[in-house]
């Protein structure tokens, strides 16, 4: 469904991605793990069109999408929940969701999608007239996911959904991700919490300073000694 080949991207003179190749098949959850600064978020931002592609290709559903502006990529069916959630804090919860459905042309389609998101996240319905910035961290994460779902994506890019959340909320969010996947949504997941990510995903890639250093079945990576040492906090 999604395939990156030798993708290179940079922030000014610093090459953040030094030739990344990865693929995501329809219906999968694929995890992208690695340390801070490894290029995980840059990978997602580059797929979304918010960072320039210097070299390499991105193909989605058979078409080359590198170079498309972000709104075109959303229209193609890729939505992102970025790191830190980036809720529009001075828009209401409902307005945040409406913006997520910005490309939905008809009023009735928008209303239908709102209903769907509200039934998935009842707390958002209760808080729909509140400003986004007044929600708690867990609620903001649900709003960010709901906002991305409003675009009716086929592929969801999730960047650090567990960041800054209490353990019980992390479990809740991961359950939501699993449910979304079971309903047919393909997911590319970036996570610091490598153990949880590898338990959830089918396959995974390990990123180190802009390169893929390991890839494979998530279950196998969970047993891999290098992964255990570097990302799961286990000794020899």
């Amino acid at each position: 469904m999604l395939e990156l080949r030798d993708l290179v991207s940079a922030y000014g003179p610093i090459q953040a991605l030094k030739g990344i190749s990865l693929r995501v098949e329809e219906g999968e959850i694929v995890a992208l793990i690695g340390a801070n600064g490894a290029g995980k978020s840059t990978t997602l931002m580059t797929i979304s069109g918010a960072r320039p592609v210097l070299r390499g290709t991105i193909r989605f559903a058979g078409e080359a999408i590198a170079g498309d502006p972000p709104h075109v990529i959303v229209a193609r069916g890729i939505a992102q929940v970025p790191e830190g959630r980036r809720i529009f804090s001075r828009l209401t919860v409902r307005e945040n969701l409406e913006m997520g459905g910005f490309l939905q042309r008809t009023r009735s389609a928008l209303e239908e999608d709102l209903k769907r998101v509200f039934s998935a996240f009842p707390v958002l319905r209760e808080r729909q007239v509140q400003l986004g910035g007044t929600l708690s961290g867990g609620e903001q994460q649900m709003l960010a996911i709901g906002r991305a779902l409003m675009a009716r994506p086929r592929l969801l890019l999730l960047d650090e959904p567990s960041l800054g959340l209490a353990p019980i909320l992390v479990q809740h969010i991961f359950r939501i991700i699993r449910d979304l996947n079971r309903q047919g949504l393909t997911i590319l997941l970036v996570e610091q919490n490598a153990r949880a990510a590898l338990q959830l995903a089918r396959r995974a890639y390990v990123l180190e300073t802009g390169r893929v250093t390991l890839e494979g079945e998530a279950a196998a990576l969970l047993q891999d000694s290098r992964v255990r040492r570097a990302y799961l906090g286990e000794g020899e």
Partner: protein, 302 residues
Amino acid sequence: MDILLQQLINGLTLGAVYALIALGYTMVYGIIELINFAHGEIYMIGAYVGIIVLTLLTVIGFAPAHLALAIFLALLAAMLVCAAYGYTLERVAYRPLRSAPRLSPLISAVGMSIFLQNYVMLTQGSADKVLPLALPTEGIALMGAQVSPMQGFILLTSVALMAALTLFIRKTRLGKAMRATAQDRTMAALVGIPVDRIIATTFVVGSILAAVAGVMVALYYGSINFFIGYSAGLKAFTAAVLGGIGNIPGAMVGGVLLGLLESLGASYVSSEYKDAFAFGILILLLIFRPQGLLGERVPEKV
């Protein structure tokens, strides 16, 4: 009492015009953090288009007879022309510099301002352009003061436009997208908002408001020149800073306050220091409250 009331009416009229122009500054700043120094020139071009259209309509014998319709046509023409100028300005002078250092678009703005002034001076001449027809002066008496028909027209039109703008920003899909883009441009793009188009729309809306202000000032004072955009632009910028730059209700409040202050200062202190009040306020604000009157931040949870 009647002098005070009269000055309040004059100040409100002036303030309404400042507010309309200030909205353009504040909306553009809100969305791309740029002080669009060429915005005053858009207002000046609006005033020129208004006078040119009214002159044409007078020459063909249409104008004094159907005055209201003629003014309406002048407003419409100015709005269209200024919308086109605002759009082109953004496309030519600012969009290519979107990812450049912040100083670059600012310099570009100053350059466009100088260019547009000289362009109008060369094509229209440096002499004042005078309104070709006499407007009704019979005002309405109000507790010892007079509201002239033009003042009434300016006040009503401004209030209507500001109400329409508020509804547009708060309720429409495009207005909400503008607010979203102003808060987080990257995130707006990630939800599918075509950010460049939203920015262009912001310039167009601001330019339309400036066009109306320009035509109304041309009608109010009866004469204009290529330099009016400079001082009015600075005053409106002051008004926008006074209210809190980037804050839409702030620009409205700031414009009206500045108009009142200037008008009261001119009559009670000295009319020679009229401009000094405005710019004195700007200096004091920048020192003591750079965020402006309404420029407070909503607490944000992370």
